[in-house]
Protein backbone atom coordinates (compact mmCIF):
# COMPACT_ATOMS: atom_id res chain seq x y z
CA UNK A 1 0.00 0.00 0.00
CA UNK A 2 2.83 2.39 0.94
CA UNK A 3 6.25 1.81 -0.54
CA UNK A 4 9.55 3.67 0.07
CA UNK A 5 12.19 3.14 -2.61
CA UNK A 6 15.63 4.38 -1.53
CA UNK A 7 14.15 7.59 -0.22
CA UNK A 8 16.40 10.42 0.90
CA UNK A 9 15.14 13.73 2.21
CA UNK A 10 17.58 16.60 2.40
CA UNK A 11 16.18 19.84 3.81
CA UNK A 12 17.21 23.21 2.47
CA UNK A 13 20.45 23.88 4.30
CA UNK A 14 21.73 20.42 3.50
CA UNK A 15 20.57 18.39 6.52
CA UNK A 16 19.59 14.83 5.60
CA UNK A 17 16.62 13.90 7.80
CA UNK A 18 15.92 10.60 6.01
CA UNK A 19 18.71 8.61 4.40
CA UNK A 20 18.17 6.06 1.65
CA UNK A 21 15.18 4.28 3.26
CA UNK A 22 13.40 1.37 1.60
CA UNK A 23 10.45 -0.40 3.17
CA UNK A 24 6.84 -1.30 2.60
CA UNK A 25 3.66 -0.99 4.63
CA UNK A 26 0.89 -3.48 3.92
CA UNK A 27 -2.75 -2.55 3.69
CA UNK A 28 -4.41 -2.90 7.10
CA UNK A 29 -1.10 -2.93 8.94
CA UNK A 30 -0.51 -1.22 12.30
CA UNK A 31 3.06 0.05 12.20
CA UNK A 32 4.99 1.86 14.91
CA UNK A 33 7.74 4.31 14.15
CA UNK A 34 10.17 4.69 17.03
CA UNK A 35 13.13 6.97 17.54
CA UNK A 36 14.43 9.89 19.52
CA UNK A 37 13.55 13.43 18.79
CA UNK A 38 15.23 14.46 15.55
CA UNK A 39 15.47 10.88 14.25
CA UNK A 40 13.31 11.72 11.21
CA UNK A 41 9.91 10.32 12.23
CA UNK A 42 7.91 13.41 11.31
CA UNK A 43 9.80 13.75 8.05
CA UNK A 44 8.99 10.15 7.15
CA UNK A 45 5.26 10.69 7.84
CA UNK A 46 5.28 13.90 5.84
CA UNK A 47 6.86 12.06 2.93
CA UNK A 48 4.01 9.55 2.98
CA UNK A 49 1.36 12.28 2.86
CA UNK A 50 3.17 14.25 0.18
CA UNK A 51 3.73 17.20 2.52
CA UNK A 52 7.45 16.90 1.89
CA UNK A 53 8.94 15.69 -1.39
CA UNK A 54 11.87 13.22 -1.42
CA UNK A 55 15.20 14.56 -2.63
CA UNK A 56 15.97 11.12 -4.08
CA UNK A 57 14.01 7.91 -4.48
CA UNK A 58 10.26 7.46 -4.67
CA UNK A 59 7.33 7.22 -2.25
CA UNK A 60 4.48 5.17 -3.71
CA UNK A 61 0.98 5.21 -2.26
CA UNK A 62 -1.28 2.66 -3.94
CA UNK A 63 1.28 2.52 -6.72
CA UNK A 64 1.25 6.28 -7.26
CA UNK A 65 4.42 8.31 -6.92
CA UNK A 66 3.33 11.02 -4.49
CA UNK A 67 6.08 13.44 -5.50
CA UNK A 68 4.99 13.31 -9.13
CA UNK A 69 1.40 14.32 -8.41
CA UNK A 70 0.27 17.62 -9.87
CA UNK A 71 -0.85 20.46 -7.63
CA UNK A 72 -4.43 19.73 -8.64
CA UNK A 73 -4.47 16.01 -7.91
CA UNK A 74 -2.45 16.05 -4.68
CA UNK A 75 -5.45 17.24 -2.58
CA UNK A 76 -7.53 14.27 -3.68
CA UNK A 77 -4.76 11.87 -2.67
CA UNK A 78 -4.43 13.62 0.70
CA UNK A 79 -8.05 12.79 1.42
CA UNK A 80 -7.16 9.08 1.61
CA UNK A 81 -5.21 9.95 4.72
CA UNK A 82 -6.20 10.88 8.23
CA UNK A 83 -3.45 13.08 9.60
CA UNK A 84 -2.68 13.63 13.27
CA UNK A 85 -0.03 16.31 13.53
CA UNK A 86 2.66 16.47 16.16
CA UNK A 87 1.75 20.13 16.79
CA UNK A 88 -1.99 19.30 16.65
CA UNK A 89 -2.93 22.20 14.36
CA UNK A 90 -6.22 22.72 16.17
CA UNK A 91 -8.08 25.88 15.14
CA UNK A 92 -8.91 27.93 18.19
CA UNK A 93 -11.16 30.38 16.37
CA UNK A 94 -13.96 27.78 16.22
CA UNK A 95 -15.52 25.19 18.47
CA UNK A 96 -14.83 21.48 18.76
CA UNK A 97 -17.62 20.54 16.37
CA UNK A 98 -16.41 22.90 13.65
CA UNK A 99 -12.84 21.67 14.04
CA UNK A 100 -13.90 18.10 13.46
CA UNK A 101 -16.13 19.04 10.54
CA UNK A 102 -13.31 20.70 8.57
CA UNK A 103 -12.36 17.62 6.49
CA UNK A 104 -16.01 17.26 5.46
CA UNK A 105 -16.27 20.95 4.52
CA UNK A 106 -13.31 20.52 2.24
CA UNK A 107 -15.02 17.78 0.28
CA UNK A 108 -18.31 19.65 0.21
CA UNK A 109 -19.97 17.06 2.42
CA UNK A 110 -22.58 18.67 4.66
CA UNK A 111 -26.13 18.44 5.88
CA UNK A 112 -27.56 15.90 8.31
CA UNK A 113 -25.24 13.08 7.27
CA UNK A 114 -22.19 15.27 7.90
CA UNK A 115 -23.53 16.24 11.31
CA UNK A 116 -24.14 12.61 12.14
CA UNK A 117 -20.57 11.71 11.16
CA UNK A 118 -19.03 14.50 13.22
CA UNK A 119 -21.05 13.49 16.29
CA UNK A 120 -20.13 9.83 15.73
CA UNK A 121 -16.42 10.70 15.50
CA UNK A 122 -16.65 12.77 18.68
CA UNK A 123 -18.49 9.94 20.40
CA UNK A 124 -15.86 7.46 19.28
CA UNK A 125 -13.04 9.46 20.90
CA UNK A 126 -15.07 10.19 24.02
CA UNK A 127 -15.79 13.88 23.46
CA UNK A 128 -19.57 13.64 23.29
CA UNK A 129 -21.26 16.68 24.72
CA UNK A 130 -18.22 18.92 24.18
CA UNK A 131 -19.12 19.97 20.62
CA UNK A 132 -19.81 23.57 21.52
CA UNK A 133 -16.68 24.11 23.59
CA UNK A 134 -13.71 26.05 22.36
CA UNK A 135 -10.79 23.62 22.08
CA UNK A 136 -8.70 25.91 24.26
CA UNK A 137 -10.75 24.72 27.25
CA UNK A 138 -9.95 21.04 26.61
CA UNK A 139 -7.24 19.15 28.52
CA UNK A 140 -4.15 17.87 26.70
CA UNK A 141 -5.62 14.40 26.33
CA UNK A 142 -8.92 15.81 25.09
CA UNK A 143 -7.14 17.96 22.52
CA UNK A 144 -5.37 14.86 21.25
CA UNK A 145 -8.74 13.12 20.96
CA UNK A 146 -10.10 16.07 19.05
CA UNK A 147 -7.24 15.66 16.57
CA UNK A 148 -8.09 11.98 16.22
CA UNK A 149 -11.77 12.73 15.64
CA UNK A 150 -10.83 15.23 12.95
CA UNK A 151 -8.50 12.68 11.34
CA UNK A 152 -11.10 9.91 11.13
CA UNK A 153 -14.31 11.84 10.42
CA UNK A 154 -14.01 11.38 6.64
CA UNK A 155 -13.22 7.65 7.13
CA UNK A 156 -9.75 7.55 5.60
CA UNK A 157 -8.07 4.29 4.59
CA UNK A 158 -4.74 5.32 6.14
CA UNK A 159 -4.16 7.02 9.48
CA UNK A 160 -0.82 8.75 10.09
CA UNK A 161 -0.31 9.78 13.71
CA UNK A 162 2.75 11.81 14.67
CA UNK A 163 3.57 11.29 18.37
CA UNK A 164 -0.08 11.12 19.48
CA UNK A 165 0.95 9.98 22.96
CA UNK A 166 3.58 12.63 23.61
CA UNK A 167 2.86 14.79 26.66
CA UNK A 168 0.19 12.39 27.92
CA UNK A 169 0.27 10.40 31.14
CA UNK A 170 0.46 6.63 30.86
CA UNK A 171 -3.28 6.00 31.29
CA UNK A 172 -4.27 8.58 28.72
CA UNK A 173 -1.63 7.27 26.33
CA UNK A 174 -3.00 3.75 26.71
CA UNK A 175 -6.55 4.93 26.04
CA UNK A 176 -5.38 6.62 22.86
CA UNK A 177 -3.54 3.52 21.70
CA UNK A 178 -6.63 1.42 22.43
CA UNK A 179 -8.54 3.77 20.22
CA UNK A 180 -6.05 3.27 17.40
CA UNK A 181 -6.29 -0.47 17.92
CA UNK A 182 -10.03 -0.28 17.37
CA UNK A 183 -9.44 1.49 14.04
CA UNK A 184 -6.94 -1.19 13.15
CA UNK A 185 -9.57 -3.82 13.86
CA UNK A 186 -11.90 -2.35 11.26
CA UNK A 187 -9.19 -2.47 8.60
CA UNK A 188 -7.59 0.98 8.71
CA UNK A 189 -3.87 1.12 7.92
CA UNK A 190 -2.06 2.94 10.73
CA UNK A 191 1.40 4.43 11.09
CA UNK A 192 2.04 5.76 14.58
CA UNK A 193 5.25 7.47 15.68
CA UNK A 194 6.49 7.83 19.25
CA UNK A 195 9.76 8.56 20.96
CA UNK A 196 8.79 6.38 23.92
CA UNK A 197 9.03 2.76 22.82
CA UNK A 198 7.79 1.20 26.05
CA UNK A 199 4.18 1.86 25.12
CA UNK A 200 4.46 0.07 21.82
CA UNK A 201 5.83 -3.09 23.28
CA UNK A 202 2.44 -3.85 24.82
CA UNK A 203 0.86 -3.99 21.38
CA UNK A 204 3.33 -6.44 19.86
CA UNK A 205 3.23 -4.99 16.37
CA UNK A 206 5.90 -4.30 13.81
CA UNK A 207 8.20 -1.49 14.92
CA UNK A 208 10.50 0.51 12.65
CA UNK A 209 13.29 2.12 14.68
CA UNK A 210 14.83 5.28 13.29
CA UNK A 211 18.10 6.93 14.24
CA UNK A 212 19.59 9.86 12.35
CA UNK A 213 17.31 9.13 9.43
CA UNK A 214 18.25 5.44 9.15
CA UNK A 215 16.75 2.20 10.44
CA UNK A 216 18.39 0.45 13.34
CA UNK A 217 17.91 -3.17 14.27
Amino acid sequence: MIQFQQVTKRYPGGFEAVKNLSFEIQSGELLFLAGHSGAGKSTLLKLIAGIEKPTAGAVLVNGQNVARLSRTSLPYVRRHFGLIFQDHKILFDRNVYENVKLPLDITGFNGMEAKRRVLAALDKVGLSGKEKLNPISLSGGEQQRLCIARAVVHRPAILLADEPTANLDRDNAHDILELFKSFHQVGVTLVISAHDETLMADYGRRILRLKNGQFTA
Binding site: V77, L83, L91, D93, D105, I106
Partner: protein, 301 residues
Protein backbone atom coordinates in the same frame (compact mmCIF):
# COMPACT_ATOMS: atom_id res chain seq x y z
CA UNK B 1 -23.50 20.02 -10.47
CA UNK B 2 -25.28 19.60 -7.18
CA UNK B 3 -21.92 18.99 -5.52
CA UNK B 4 -20.52 22.12 -7.15
CA UNK B 5 -23.48 24.19 -5.95
CA UNK B 6 -23.03 22.84 -2.45
CA UNK B 7 -19.34 23.79 -2.42
CA UNK B 8 -20.24 27.32 -3.49
CA UNK B 9 -23.09 27.52 -1.03
CA UNK B 10 -20.69 26.60 1.75
CA UNK B 11 -18.19 29.19 0.57
CA UNK B 12 -20.88 31.89 0.53
CA UNK B 13 -21.97 30.92 4.03
CA UNK B 14 -18.38 31.17 5.21
CA UNK B 15 -18.02 34.54 3.49
CA UNK B 16 -21.04 35.94 5.29
CA UNK B 17 -19.69 34.61 8.57
CA UNK B 18 -16.32 36.19 7.86
CA UNK B 19 -17.97 39.52 7.04
CA UNK B 20 -19.99 39.44 10.23
CA UNK B 21 -17.00 38.44 12.33
CA UNK B 22 -15.40 41.84 11.74
CA UNK B 23 -18.37 44.12 11.08
CA UNK B 24 -16.47 47.32 11.83
CA UNK B 25 -13.39 46.86 9.66
CA UNK B 26 -15.41 45.35 6.83
CA UNK B 27 -17.91 48.18 7.11
CA UNK B 28 -15.11 50.73 6.92
CA UNK B 29 -13.71 48.98 3.89
CA UNK B 30 -17.10 49.05 2.21
CA UNK B 31 -17.46 52.74 2.94
CA UNK B 32 -14.05 53.46 1.41
CA UNK B 33 -15.01 51.52 -1.72
CA UNK B 34 -18.33 53.36 -1.79
CA UNK B 35 -16.70 56.77 -1.50
CA UNK B 36 -14.10 55.87 -4.10
CA UNK B 37 -16.88 54.84 -6.45
CA UNK B 38 -19.01 57.89 -5.61
CA UNK B 39 -16.42 60.39 -6.88
CA UNK B 40 -16.39 59.39 -10.54
CA UNK B 41 -20.11 58.63 -10.52
CA UNK B 42 -20.93 62.09 -9.16
CA UNK B 43 -18.63 63.71 -11.68
CA UNK B 44 -20.23 61.69 -14.43
CA UNK B 45 -23.75 62.64 -13.34
CA UNK B 46 -22.83 66.35 -13.32
CA UNK B 47 -21.19 66.13 -16.75
CA UNK B 48 -24.02 64.20 -18.33
CA UNK B 49 -26.66 66.48 -16.79
CA UNK B 50 -24.91 69.59 -18.07
CA UNK B 51 -24.20 68.02 -21.45
CA UNK B 52 -27.86 67.07 -21.76
CA UNK B 53 -28.91 70.65 -21.18
CA UNK B 54 -26.14 72.10 -23.31
CA UNK B 55 -27.35 70.07 -26.26
CA UNK B 56 -30.90 71.31 -25.91
CA UNK B 57 -29.98 74.97 -25.62
CA UNK B 58 -30.74 76.86 -28.85
CA UNK B 59 -27.19 77.83 -29.66
CA UNK B 60 -27.28 78.68 -33.31
CA UNK B 61 -23.72 79.67 -33.81
CA UNK B 62 -23.66 83.12 -35.29
CA UNK B 63 -20.92 85.34 -36.65
CA UNK B 64 -21.47 89.08 -36.82
CA UNK B 65 -19.21 90.75 -39.37
CA UNK B 66 -18.89 94.51 -39.05
CA UNK B 67 -17.49 96.19 -42.12
CA UNK B 68 -15.22 99.20 -41.96
CA UNK B 69 -17.23 102.42 -42.30
CA UNK B 70 -15.01 103.55 -45.14
CA UNK B 71 -15.26 100.31 -47.04
CA UNK B 72 -16.63 100.67 -50.57
CA UNK B 73 -20.22 99.48 -50.85
CA UNK B 74 -19.42 97.14 -53.79
CA UNK B 75 -16.76 95.38 -51.76
CA UNK B 76 -19.34 94.74 -49.00
CA UNK B 77 -21.84 93.42 -51.51
CA UNK B 78 -19.33 91.09 -53.12
CA UNK B 79 -18.32 89.67 -49.74
CA UNK B 80 -22.03 89.19 -49.00
CA UNK B 81 -22.52 87.29 -52.27
CA UNK B 82 -19.45 85.21 -51.65
CA UNK B 83 -20.68 84.22 -48.19
CA UNK B 84 -24.11 83.28 -49.53
CA UNK B 85 -22.44 80.50 -51.48
CA UNK B 86 -20.80 79.09 -48.34
CA UNK B 87 -21.98 75.54 -47.63
CA UNK B 88 -21.71 75.62 -43.86
CA UNK B 89 -24.00 78.65 -43.48
CA UNK B 90 -27.74 78.33 -43.30
CA UNK B 91 -28.51 82.03 -43.39
CA UNK B 92 -26.59 85.08 -44.51
CA UNK B 93 -28.16 88.45 -43.84
CA UNK B 94 -26.88 91.83 -44.89
CA UNK B 95 -27.76 94.59 -42.42
CA UNK B 96 -27.24 98.04 -43.95
CA UNK B 97 -26.13 100.72 -41.53
CA UNK B 98 -29.48 102.57 -41.78
CA UNK B 99 -31.37 99.45 -40.89
CA UNK B 100 -29.04 98.87 -37.95
CA UNK B 101 -29.74 102.36 -36.69
CA UNK B 102 -33.51 101.85 -36.94
CA UNK B 103 -33.24 98.56 -35.12
CA UNK B 104 -31.28 100.16 -32.38
CA UNK B 105 -33.67 103.07 -32.02
CA UNK B 106 -36.63 100.77 -31.69
CA UNK B 107 -34.77 98.55 -29.29
CA UNK B 108 -33.78 101.42 -27.03
CA UNK B 109 -37.10 103.21 -27.50
CA UNK B 110 -35.60 106.58 -28.46
CA UNK B 111 -36.72 108.18 -31.71
CA UNK B 112 -33.79 110.35 -32.45
CA UNK B 113 -30.60 108.70 -31.31
CA UNK B 114 -28.55 110.80 -33.67
CA UNK B 115 -29.69 114.11 -32.33
CA UNK B 116 -26.20 115.20 -31.42
CA UNK B 117 -24.33 113.49 -34.23
CA UNK B 118 -23.50 114.50 -37.76
CA UNK B 119 -24.11 111.16 -39.32
CA UNK B 120 -24.80 107.48 -38.59
CA UNK B 121 -21.72 106.01 -36.85
CA UNK B 122 -22.85 102.42 -37.36
CA UNK B 123 -21.18 100.24 -39.98
CA UNK B 124 -22.76 97.91 -42.47
CA UNK B 125 -22.91 94.39 -41.08
CA UNK B 126 -23.33 90.86 -42.33
CA UNK B 127 -24.87 88.36 -39.92
CA UNK B 128 -24.05 84.72 -40.57
CA UNK B 129 -25.94 81.82 -39.05
CA UNK B 130 -24.06 78.57 -39.33
CA UNK B 131 -25.64 75.15 -39.51
CA UNK B 132 -25.87 73.42 -36.13
CA UNK B 133 -23.74 70.60 -37.42
CA UNK B 134 -20.84 72.91 -38.20
CA UNK B 135 -17.82 71.98 -36.11
CA UNK B 136 -16.69 74.71 -33.76
CA UNK B 137 -13.19 74.68 -35.21
CA UNK B 138 -14.46 75.43 -38.70
CA UNK B 139 -16.50 78.34 -37.38
CA UNK B 140 -13.44 79.72 -35.67
CA UNK B 141 -11.46 79.45 -38.87
CA UNK B 142 -14.16 81.29 -40.79
CA UNK B 143 -14.26 83.97 -38.13
CA UNK B 144 -10.47 84.49 -38.36
CA UNK B 145 -10.61 84.59 -42.15
CA UNK B 146 -13.27 87.24 -42.06
CA UNK B 147 -11.47 89.27 -39.42
CA UNK B 148 -8.39 89.30 -41.67
CA UNK B 149 -10.35 90.67 -44.62
CA UNK B 150 -9.20 94.29 -45.24
CA UNK B 151 -12.77 95.63 -45.54
CA UNK B 152 -13.83 93.99 -42.26
CA UNK B 153 -13.50 95.93 -39.05
CA UNK B 154 -14.32 93.05 -36.73
CA UNK B 155 -15.91 89.61 -36.82
CA UNK B 156 -17.49 88.24 -33.65
CA UNK B 157 -18.33 84.62 -33.01
CA UNK B 158 -21.40 84.77 -30.82
CA UNK B 159 -21.44 81.14 -29.81
CA UNK B 160 -18.23 81.61 -27.86
CA UNK B 161 -19.91 80.86 -24.52
CA UNK B 162 -21.40 77.63 -25.85
CA UNK B 163 -17.94 76.65 -26.96
CA UNK B 164 -16.54 77.47 -23.58
CA UNK B 165 -19.17 75.16 -22.11
CA UNK B 166 -18.12 72.47 -24.57
CA UNK B 167 -14.48 72.94 -23.61
CA UNK B 168 -15.43 72.75 -19.95
CA UNK B 169 -17.38 69.56 -20.56
CA UNK B 170 -14.53 67.91 -22.39
CA UNK B 171 -12.18 68.99 -19.62
CA UNK B 172 -14.61 67.37 -17.19
CA UNK B 173 -14.55 64.19 -19.24
CA UNK B 174 -10.76 64.08 -19.22
CA UNK B 175 -10.81 64.67 -15.48
CA UNK B 176 -13.34 61.86 -15.12
CA UNK B 177 -11.06 59.49 -17.01
CA UNK B 178 -8.11 60.40 -14.82
CA UNK B 179 -10.18 59.97 -11.64
CA UNK B 180 -11.47 56.61 -12.85
CA UNK B 181 -7.98 55.33 -13.58
CA UNK B 182 -6.56 56.52 -10.25
CA UNK B 183 -9.44 55.17 -8.20
CA UNK B 184 -9.41 51.90 -10.14
CA UNK B 185 -5.80 51.37 -9.14
CA UNK B 186 -6.64 52.39 -5.57
CA UNK B 187 -9.53 49.92 -5.39
CA UNK B 188 -7.43 47.04 -6.69
CA UNK B 189 -4.73 47.79 -4.12
CA UNK B 190 -7.28 48.30 -1.35
CA UNK B 191 -9.01 44.97 -1.95
CA UNK B 192 -5.69 43.25 -2.51
CA UNK B 193 -4.55 44.49 0.87
CA UNK B 194 -7.78 43.52 2.61
CA UNK B 195 -7.46 40.00 1.18
CA UNK B 196 -3.80 39.85 2.18
CA UNK B 197 -4.79 40.72 5.75
CA UNK B 198 -7.45 38.02 5.70
CA UNK B 199 -5.01 35.45 4.41
CA UNK B 200 -2.66 36.41 7.23
CA UNK B 201 -5.32 36.16 9.93
CA UNK B 202 -6.61 32.89 8.51
CA UNK B 203 -3.14 31.48 8.02
CA UNK B 204 -3.67 28.51 10.37
CA UNK B 205 -6.98 27.54 8.85
CA UNK B 206 -5.57 27.66 5.33
CA UNK B 207 -2.54 25.65 6.37
CA UNK B 208 -4.59 22.88 7.99
CA UNK B 209 -7.12 22.82 5.18
CA UNK B 210 -4.38 22.40 2.58
CA UNK B 211 -2.67 19.70 4.62
CA UNK B 212 -5.82 17.62 4.87
CA UNK B 213 -6.66 17.84 1.21
CA UNK B 214 -8.32 21.13 0.33
CA UNK B 215 -7.97 22.12 -3.32
CA UNK B 216 -6.60 25.51 -4.29
CA UNK B 217 -10.08 26.40 -5.53
CA UNK B 218 -11.56 25.63 -2.12
CA UNK B 219 -9.03 27.90 -0.42
CA UNK B 220 -9.49 30.72 -2.93
CA UNK B 221 -13.27 30.62 -3.11
CA UNK B 222 -14.15 32.46 0.12
CA UNK B 223 -11.68 35.24 -0.71
CA UNK B 224 -13.26 35.72 -4.11
CA UNK B 225 -16.73 35.76 -2.62
CA UNK B 226 -15.51 38.26 -0.09
CA UNK B 227 -14.10 40.47 -2.85
CA UNK B 228 -17.26 40.10 -4.94
CA UNK B 229 -19.49 41.02 -2.01
CA UNK B 230 -17.26 44.01 -1.23
CA UNK B 231 -17.37 45.11 -4.86
CA UNK B 232 -21.11 44.74 -5.17
CA UNK B 233 -21.98 46.33 -1.82
CA UNK B 234 -19.36 49.05 -2.34
CA UNK B 235 -20.86 49.86 -5.75
CA UNK B 236 -24.35 50.05 -4.27
CA UNK B 237 -23.07 52.32 -1.51
CA UNK B 238 -21.47 54.56 -4.15
CA UNK B 239 -24.81 54.81 -5.97
CA UNK B 240 -26.55 55.53 -2.66
CA UNK B 241 -24.11 58.29 -1.76
CA UNK B 242 -24.45 59.96 -5.18
CA UNK B 243 -28.23 59.58 -5.35
CA UNK B 244 -28.57 60.96 -1.81
CA UNK B 245 -26.18 63.83 -2.54
CA UNK B 246 -27.95 64.82 -5.76
CA UNK B 247 -31.36 64.52 -4.14
CA UNK B 248 -30.15 66.83 -1.42
CA UNK B 249 -28.47 69.32 -3.78
CA UNK B 250 -31.11 69.50 -6.49
CA UNK B 251 -33.43 72.10 -4.91
CA UNK B 252 -30.48 74.48 -4.61
CA UNK B 253 -29.32 73.72 -8.14
CA UNK B 254 -32.82 74.33 -9.49
CA UNK B 255 -32.99 77.68 -7.66
CA UNK B 256 -29.65 78.73 -9.07
CA UNK B 257 -30.65 77.75 -12.62
CA UNK B 258 -33.93 79.56 -12.18
CA UNK B 259 -32.06 82.73 -11.32
CA UNK B 260 -30.49 82.50 -14.78
CA UNK B 261 -33.84 81.81 -16.37
CA UNK B 262 -33.09 78.16 -16.94
CA UNK B 263 -34.71 74.94 -15.85
CA UNK B 264 -32.00 72.61 -14.72
CA UNK B 265 -31.51 69.82 -12.17
CA UNK B 266 -28.89 67.10 -11.83
CA UNK B 267 -29.99 63.67 -13.00
CA UNK B 268 -30.09 60.81 -10.51
CA UNK B 269 -28.09 57.72 -11.43
CA UNK B 270 -30.37 55.25 -13.20
CA UNK B 271 -30.21 51.44 -13.39
CA UNK B 272 -27.68 51.65 -16.22
CA UNK B 273 -25.26 53.86 -14.27
CA UNK B 274 -25.75 51.76 -11.12
CA UNK B 275 -25.12 48.60 -13.11
CA UNK B 276 -21.93 49.98 -14.63
CA UNK B 277 -20.62 51.23 -11.28
CA UNK B 278 -21.34 47.92 -9.52
CA UNK B 279 -19.92 45.97 -12.44
CA UNK B 280 -16.72 47.99 -12.41
CA UNK B 281 -16.24 47.83 -8.62
CA UNK B 282 -16.97 44.11 -8.79
CA UNK B 283 -14.34 43.67 -11.47
CA UNK B 284 -11.75 45.79 -9.68
CA UNK B 285 -12.26 44.13 -6.30
CA UNK B 286 -12.00 40.67 -7.78
CA UNK B 287 -8.83 41.68 -9.65
CA UNK B 288 -7.36 42.81 -6.34
CA UNK B 289 -8.40 39.52 -4.76
CA UNK B 290 -6.94 37.58 -7.65
CA UNK B 291 -3.58 39.32 -7.32
CA UNK B 292 -3.44 38.88 -3.54
CA UNK B 293 -4.53 35.27 -3.64
CA UNK B 294 -2.03 34.46 -6.38
CA UNK B 295 0.77 36.07 -4.46
CA UNK B 296 0.02 34.93 -0.92
CA UNK B 297 -1.51 31.48 -1.28
CA UNK B 298 1.39 30.04 -3.20
CA UNK B 299 3.48 29.39 -0.10
CA UNK B 300 1.01 26.85 1.27
CA UNK B 301 1.56 23.25 0.21
Amino acid sequence: MKHWLRLHGLAIARTIKALLRHPFSNGMNLLVIGIAGAFPLALYMVISSVAGVAQKLPVEPQISVFLKTDAPAEAGQSLYKQLQGHTELQQVRFVPRDQALKDMQSAVGVDDLLAGLDNNPLPDAIVLKAKLSTPALQLERLQKELAANPIVDSAQLDSAWAQRLQHLLSLGQTLLQAVVVLLAVALVLLTGNAIRMQILTRHDEIEVAKLIGATDAFIRRPFFYFALSQGLLGGLIACGIVAGGIYWLNPAVADLAHAYGQQFTLQLPGPLEAGVVCGVTLLLCSSGAWLAVRKHLRKFH
